[in-house]
């Protein structure tokens, strides 16, 4: 309500992202960040607007990654159909998970989604079409509505367009009649029920939507990187997406994007950072920082939970409000 037109802000943000390759930023890196940002946004749709913490979202990323990979590589489906197939497959898995998990809330929900995704992980590990440990390699990019995607730059804009489209859908969902009911369920489920809303159905739809969008992220990621691997479906990936959302700010629209950027950049650059720190401080231990991604990630987790529960964007927003007040 404070921002006169939030859409204008998002427009500027996307325009800036569109200009990045021209400024010499490595497009594949940005595309990867965009995919994870979409993944985090999808996850955030669930936690931020229903209060349900899924610890198994990697299952959807992985499902879609394999489904799209298989569709493009083995069936030779056109790229847009492949992406759609991946997203829908993830949505289907989401429906099954949701039916099982949605009846429980809080911590039970988290553990059940975690366990279900682990089950799916073992299925992927053994199923012939996933290529097991080797993953599904060399997925062709094909063309998108006549655009040849073999050029990184063309792909870049297609990915950006997909991201914007999905982001728009999320924005829409949040600001829709459905979003209103979701918010009310999160705020006071008993009251929403007493007003005649079948809260389980709403939560299930939110869950399936979130799974489908997470799937779209996974499908796009397969297209960008050309393969789908078990990592996509591993529980640590579920942990990573939680971290992204937490770092960026749960329940804010931009937060997960910022979080994804921070975490991916950290994963990629932490080695360099360690080397720089070692040079600066003369402590040789920092050289090994690159091998200690999990340690650093863990510390960030702890600090965020204890001190920055609102995340970067949430804290910044709060600060801005405080500065504006007097």
């Amino acid at each position: 309500m404070n921002n006169k037109n939030p859409l204008l802000g998002y427009g500027a943000l996307f325009l800036a992202i569109a200009c990045l390759p021209a400024l010499g930023v490595y497009p594949i890196f940005v595309m990867k960040v965009l995919c994870f940002a979409l993944f985090a946004c999808a996850f955030n749709l669930l936690i931020g607007f229903t209060g349900l913490l899924s610890f198994g979202h990697a299952a959807f990323l992985g499902t879609a990654a394999y489904a799209t990979g298989h569709a493009l590589k083995v069936w030779g489906l056109p790229t847009p159909l492949g992406l759609l197939f991946g997203a829908l497959a993830a949505g289907g898995v989401g429906l099954v998970f949701g039916l099982l998990a949605i009846r429980r809330v809080g911590i039970y929900f988290s553990m059940i989604t975690l366990a279900l995704s682990q089950m799916l992980y073992f299925v992927f590990l053994q199923a012939p079409f996933t290529g097991g440990e080797d993953g599904l390699q060399s997925v062709p990019r094909g063309s998108f509505l006549g655009l040849d995607l073999s050029s990184d730059l063309t792909l870049y804009y297609v990915v950006l367009a997909i991201f914007i489209g999905a982001f728009w859908l999320i924005y829409r969902t949040v600001h829709s009649p459905f979003g209103q009911v979701l918010t009310s369920i999160r705020e006071n489920e008993a009251r929403a029920t007493s007003l005649g809303y079948d809260t389980d159905k709403f939560k299930l739809l939110a869950f399936v939507l979130s799974a489908t969008l997470a799937g779209l992220a996974g499908a796009t990621k397969t297209l960008v990187l050309g393969f789908a691997t078990l990592t996509d479906a591993l529980w640590t990936t579920s942990g990573a997406v939680i971290l992204m959302t937490l770092v960026g700010g749960m329940g804010t629209l931009v937060g997960p994007m910022v979080g994804a950027l921070i975490i991916i950049a950290l994963e990629n650059k932490i080695g360099d950072l360690g080397k720089a720190l070692a040079d600066l401080t003369g402590v040789a231990w920092f050289n090994g920082l690159g091998e200690s991604v999990s340690l650093v990630t863990g510390l960030i987790f702890i600090v965020c939970v204890l001190a920055f529960r609102r995340g970067v964007v949430g804290e910044a927003h709060a600060l801005w409000l405080r500065l504006r007040k007097p």
Binding site: Q180, T183, S194, L195, Y197
Partner: protein, 256 residues
């Protein structure tokens, strides 16, 4: 028997061997304001929870408008027009006062699952919402966050939301609890007014309110019905005096 809008038969709820509601046969007449009284822990709120299926009855049946609703889910019962309020105030704290009421009205638009639609459709409801808020004197607070309201005002908001649903049967759990004197009077009047053409079942400890608006009273004690009748009958009932009103008959006279 079509005069009865709600009827329970041997409604019972046990919690691990403890019987909170014990063979209650409640009969609520259409158009009545029916009060449910009883000492703390008598099972009043539990009764409400059973009627709205927030709890599963251990035994017994619930008949609403001639239909057996014992097996239905909470939301279904609400859609039949049985809307309740809560003893501990139940608002959506981070939504505005206006949005709080609109959530209720929204159900009738049939767009609640439409995640691709904007909010413009809902804005059409705002006029009605504001009119409702006017009734409980919350119009000026329409754009405040519900969570920021004082306790008594939250109760008023809750009643406004309940009313917005145009319920056939309204279940109010201690609607005036936690309110100042003026608010109590206003809410009492309000309940009386909105009760026209519908039925109200309310739990209330404030005898002033009960004596003023209740057509019929059921007194519960230890989960079972202790007495039933209009105020005059019930307030003289010896068991009621003993278990609920306190033993001093003089106090009751004072309430008139």
């Amino acid at each position: 028997m079509s005069e009865l809008i709600l009827e329970t038969k041997n409604l019972t709820k046990e919690f691990k061997g403890f019987t909170a509601v014990d063979q209650v046969n409640l009969q609520v007449e259409r158009g009545h304001i029916h009060a449910l009284l009883g000492p703390n822990g008598a099972g009043k709120t539990t009764c409400f929870n059973l009627l709205t299926k927030f709890l599963e009855p251990t035994r017994g049946t619930i008949v609403f408008n001639g239909v057996d609703i014992t097996r239905e889910k909470s939301a279904e019962i609400a859609r039949r027009g049985v809307i309740r309020s809560f003893q501990i105030s139940a608002v959506f704290p981070h939504l505005t006062v206006l949005e709080n009421v609109r959530i209720g009205l929204q159900r009738f638009t049939g767009t609640s699952f439409h995640f691709w639609k904007g909010l413009t459709g809902l804005k059409q409801l705002d006029a009605r919402v504001l009119a409702l808020l006017e009734l409980v004197d919350l119009r000026d607070a329409a754009h405040l966050k519900a969570g920021d309201l004082p306790y008594g005002r939250k109760r008023a908001l809750e009643i406004a939301t309940t009313m917005a649903m145009e319920p056939t049967l309204m279940l109010l759990d201690e609607p005036t609890q936690g309110m100042g004197h003026e608010d109590v009077d206003r809410i009492t009047e309000l309940i009386k007014r909105v009760a026209e053409g519908r039925t109200v079942l309310m739990v209330e400890h404030n005898m002033k309110v009960v004596s003023r608006i209740a057509d019929r009273i059921t007194v519960l004690a230890r989960g079972a019905v202790l007495a039933e009748g209009d105020y005059a009958t019930v307030s003289k009932h010896p068991a009621v005096l003993e278990a609920y009103m306190g033993s001093e008959a003089a106090e009751l006279q004072g309430a008139h």
